[in-house]
């Protein structure tokens, strides 16, 4: 919606195609507050944050196609053809000059992490349970064990407790929580819900419905037979990470990044197919929606300059790589002669670290970081001035030292 607004406000004709009945995506089921602190400078709930954009969108002549699933995208030179199906519009075919991919992400599920045991009912991803509870008004279970300490899992621990169910514990395989600190404090510690770090679920038990899970501590990365215990529960929620939803991108043969599971994009957020852009969780998984909006707005403005065929101010672009202690850096190129904002995710927990951007011994940018967590995305801006130091044909490396 943010990208659509930015493009439409510049005077271009925009169609927004959405699979669900209402625009807003996952925000509509995230009824908790804490959204918008950066972008709107106030604390909003998910539906309120979505409403801000729905209101902005409603004032613009954007063609909104709801309940329409895009199944195919053809890129041949200048024109892109997008094909979708819908119970309202039938077969929808759109011919466009540019496409913005904003399909979001999907939750990893039991199959992705391979938990042993039987296959009873009652194993949900945390986001599915959230939707059932907050949108459809259905209770997924009574006694819940949460696997993985991602934010949605933590939020669901509180939500389930508030609707009168009991959350028996959160089992996290890593030695540190994957969710934000404020969620650990307000969703677990407030209710005395135990967080088992460096533990893993070795078995899900139950015939028709989940009856319990076996939990074992990890010793040197291997589940140990000593110190294991069982939690009797009827429901298992999985909050074990998100994967960008890129079936459409792959089918259009757009180059993908192995680090983010999203498309490879340049400094304008343009993919390997000219005129196809990407933003939000489809590009890489964000932890704050405020950053999604900001990225989408930037993407929208890039689309506008693409459509206007603005003469590029930059002279050349160099590839970007994620060095020591970083999982990934987005976008994947840095242009000389302009400002670029980079988003990256750390692979380590550190206090007082330094982020260094360099080409060999030539340091382009350095920044002191007070706290580095894999759960919290890092933002770095390479200013126009700094970008002039970037030399041609040499990879720009980002690293945390």
């Amino acid at each position: 919606m943010a990208a659509a607004c930015a493009i439409c406000e510049a005077g271009f004709k925009v169609a927004l195609v959405e699979r669900e009945e209402h625009p807003g995506g996952i925000l509509l089921q995230c009824i908790h507050n804490g959204f918008g602190l950066h972008h709107f400078k106030q604390e909003l709930t998910g539906p309120e944050y979505a409403d801000e954009y729905v209101t902005r969108l409603a004032a613009l002549p954007v063609h909104l196609y709801l309940q329409t699933t895009v199944v195919d995208m053809h890129v041949s030179g200048e024109t892109k053809r997008v094909v979708g199906y819908s119970p309202i519009h039938g077969v929808l075919e759109l011919e466009t000059a540019a496409v913005v991919l904003a399909m979001g992400c999907r939750e990893r599920n039991r199959g992705n992490i391979g938990i042993p045991g039987t296959r009873p009912a009652g194993v949900f991803t945390a986001g599915l349970a959230q939707r059932l509870l907050n949108v459809d008004g259905l209770l997924p279970g009574k006694r819940v064990v949460i696997i993985g300490s991602g934010d949605i899992g933590l939020i669901m621990a509180r939500r389930m407790t508030w609707v009168g169910c009991s959350a028996l514990g959160v089992v996290e395989i890593l030695p540190y929580p994957s969710g934000l600190t404020r969620n650990i404090v307000q969703c677990l510690q407030d209710f005395g819900i135990p967080l088992h770090l460096s533990h893993t679920v070795t078995k899900i038990r139950g015939h028709d419905r989940v009856e319990g899970v076996c939990v074992s501590p990890l010793v040197n990365g291997v589940p140990s037979t000593d110190g294991g215990f069982e939690l009797a529960c009827d429901t298992v929620l999985l909050s074990v990470g998100l994967i960008p939803e890129n079936e459409l991108t792959r089918s259009a043969r757009i180059r993908m990044s192995a680090n983010t599971n999203g498309p490879v994009v340049d400094h304008d957020l343009q993919t390997s197919a000219a005129g196809v852009f990407a933003c939000g969780n489809v590009l890489h998984v964000h932890d704050l929606v405020d950053f999604v909006s900001e990225e989408a707005d930037l993407c929208g403005r890039s689309v506008v300059s693409y459509l206007r065929r603005d003469t590029k101010e930059e002279r050349y672009a160099v590839p970007v790589s994620a060095g020591a202690n970083l999982k990934y850096v987005v976008p994947n190129t840095c242009a000389s002669g302009r400002e670029t904002r980079f988003r990256m995710r750390a692979g380590v927990v550190r206090e007082k670290a330094e982020l260094v951007v360099r080409q060999g011994d030539n340091v382009v940018h350095r920044a002191a970081l007070r706290h580095v967590r894999p759960a919290e995305m890092l933002l770095v801006t390479i200013s126009k001035q700094e970008s002039f130091q970037v030399k041609k044909d040499e990879t720009l490396e980002f690293a945390i030292l």
């Binding site: 509509l28 009824i31 908790h32 507050n33 604390e43 709930t45 998910g46 539906p47 309120e48 409403d51 309202i88 509870l133 907050n134 949108v135 459809d136 008004g137 259905l138 508030w162 609707v163 934000l180 600190t181 404020r182 650990i184 404090v185 307000q186 510690q189 407030d190 007070r370 706290h371 967590r373 919290e376």
Partner: protein, 126 residues
């Protein structure tokens, strides 16, 4: 009393102690931690978000929130009260569903606009 400050990602471990000179907060790296520790130790409050039942076939429930942080010990009572509600649609974002809960001056408001039900004639193309 030990607690973790949530004012920023630093997550300082605070130690709040009751002394003759009043509350003494240690372990914070900034004034926000001091304020957080004091608030949590004397009057912990939470914004409560929940869903209430809607009187509609199309919309099973409506998301709501308290318009200000509620004293923590009152949260279960508020949730119990919200469970008994049945709200008529349409509603607009910000419409109250429960006013001035137990004299706190805190109301519960809708966080989503639920439009009037669209009447579709049988066989009509929407």
């Amino acid at each position: 009393m030990e607690m973790i400050c949530i004012a920023c990602p630093n997550g300082c471990h605070l130690d709040v102690a009751q002394t003759a000179r009043g509350l003494v907060i240690t372990g914070n790296k900034c004034p926000k931690g001091e304020a957080y520790g004091r608030q949590e130790a004397t009057d912990p409050r939470r914004v409560v978000t929940a869903v209430v039942r809607a009187c509609s076939t199309e919309w099973p429930c409506i998301p709501v929130k308290t318009d200000a942080p509620l004293p923590k010990q009152m949260v279960p009572a508020l949730l119990a009260a919200l469970n008994t509600l049945l709200v008529q649609v349409p509603v607009k974002r910000g419409d109250p569903v429960l006013r001035d809960f137990e004299g706190t001056g805190i109301s519960v408001v809708c966080t989503r606009t639920i439009p009037p039900v669209k009447l579709v004639k049988p066989g009509a193309v929407p």
